[in-house]
Amino acid sequence: MSYLPYAVAAWLFLVGLYGVISSRNLVHLIICVGVIQSSSYVLLLAIGYRTGAAAPIFVDIPVGTPAVDPVVQALMLTDVVVEVTVVALLLALAIQVHKRHGTLNPDELRKLKG
């Protein structure tokens, strides 16, 4: 158990990378990039966790209770929301590619010129 989250993070990264490399559809490729990003969330979460600690919200618990790391949570929070906007930008790029070349297959796109 002590190394399971790290193993899951590595597995998600490699599976996402395999999806990017072996993809036949640009939209599928963009979603696999999202899977790679979620592997970084698992890794950050695993680094910040303390066994038996509570969430770092001190509204109803006294100030001295052991809590998990709030800094890595702050990193992940903005990243989750910003990632979706970047995926929207990538999808807009994919739509424009499809409009110009008529295909969404990365292998065929490589052969087209100009």
């Binding site: 072996s22 001190f58 790391d69 970047v86 929207a88």
Partner: protein, 250 residues
């Protein structure tokens, strides 16, 4: 190289990458025994010094507010990029009012969907603002509340009438709101410099921890970020929908 050679090459390099991962993980502390001194300090000073009960919001908007400014502008730039990429060029004619397959009538939206969407519309907006405003007390803040707020035009669209969406969420107003939210962050920081402090230094009175007015400048920054995120997501939604349902040129 052909596809099969590419995949075999990937498997070899993935094995090498996995070995690098395991070698790197061997240097980390075991899961559950992380010992970050910065985290301990932030947890200890969040309520006594900064009067904010949500330590994550304290890190995001007060202690490391400058980094959140950068993240917010990543969002702003991506929305700008989507709008620029999806603009209609001169050689595209205006399409049908509804997106339909040729030869098939569009089925009307069922009444159950319309009733539920209309019932959920007002609670969604109220809940979104509740999450935005309570960022410094309980889990929440500008980012989460902004995304919840941007789902309200989507509910309106599910009722089946795109012109009503354009009427209720006029693009000009949304653009102004988004720009105000993004600029507001910088104006707040600049006001701190003008008053003699550092950029984004918390100069307002800090208030009582656990109330809505705690944290000094954090409520205003939360409002700005909430406006900006909700405006950005609504603009993306409108741009994508408009490409599907272009209005009839009269």
């Amino acid at each position: 190289m052909t596809r099969r050679i590419r995949l075999k090459f990937f498997l070899v390099s993935a094995a090498a990458l996995a070995l690098c991962f395991f070698w790197g993980y061997a240097g980390l502390p075991a899961f559950g025994h992380g010992s970050s001194i910065y985290a301990d300090i932030v947890n200890a000073i969040s309520v006594p010094q900064r009067h904010i009960t949500d330590a994550v919001t304290a890190v995001n908007f007060d202690i490391r507010g400058f980094d959140t400014l950068g993240e917010e502008f990543i969002l702003f730039t991506s929305v700008l990029g989507v709008i620029l990429l999806m603009r209609r060029t001169k050689d595209e004619p205006a399409g049908d009012h509804e997106d339909k397959a040729p030869g098939r009538k569009v089925p009307p939206v069922s009444d159950a969907v319309r009733v539920i969407a209309l019932l959920l519309l007002a609670p969604t907006i109220v809940f979104g603002w509740y999450i935005v405003v309570h960022g410094q007390v309980t889990p929440g803040g500008g980012f989460q509340g902004g995304v919840i707020l941007s789902s309200a035009p989507l509910l309106l669209y599910l009722c089946g009438s795109y012109p009503k969406v354009r009427g209720a969420a006029a693009p000009r107003l949304i653009e102004i709101a988004e720009a105000l939210g993004a600029a507001g962050y910088i104006v707040i920081g600049g006001a701190c410099v003008a008053l003699g402090g550092m950029f984004l230094e918390n100069l307002l009175p800090l208030g009582k921890a656990g109330t809505l007015t705690s944290g000094g400048m954090v409520p205003f920054i939360n409002l700005g970020v909430g406006l900006e995120v909700s405006g950005g997501f609504t603009l993306i939604l409108l741009v994508y929908l408009e490409e599907l349902m272009e209005e009839k040129e009269s």
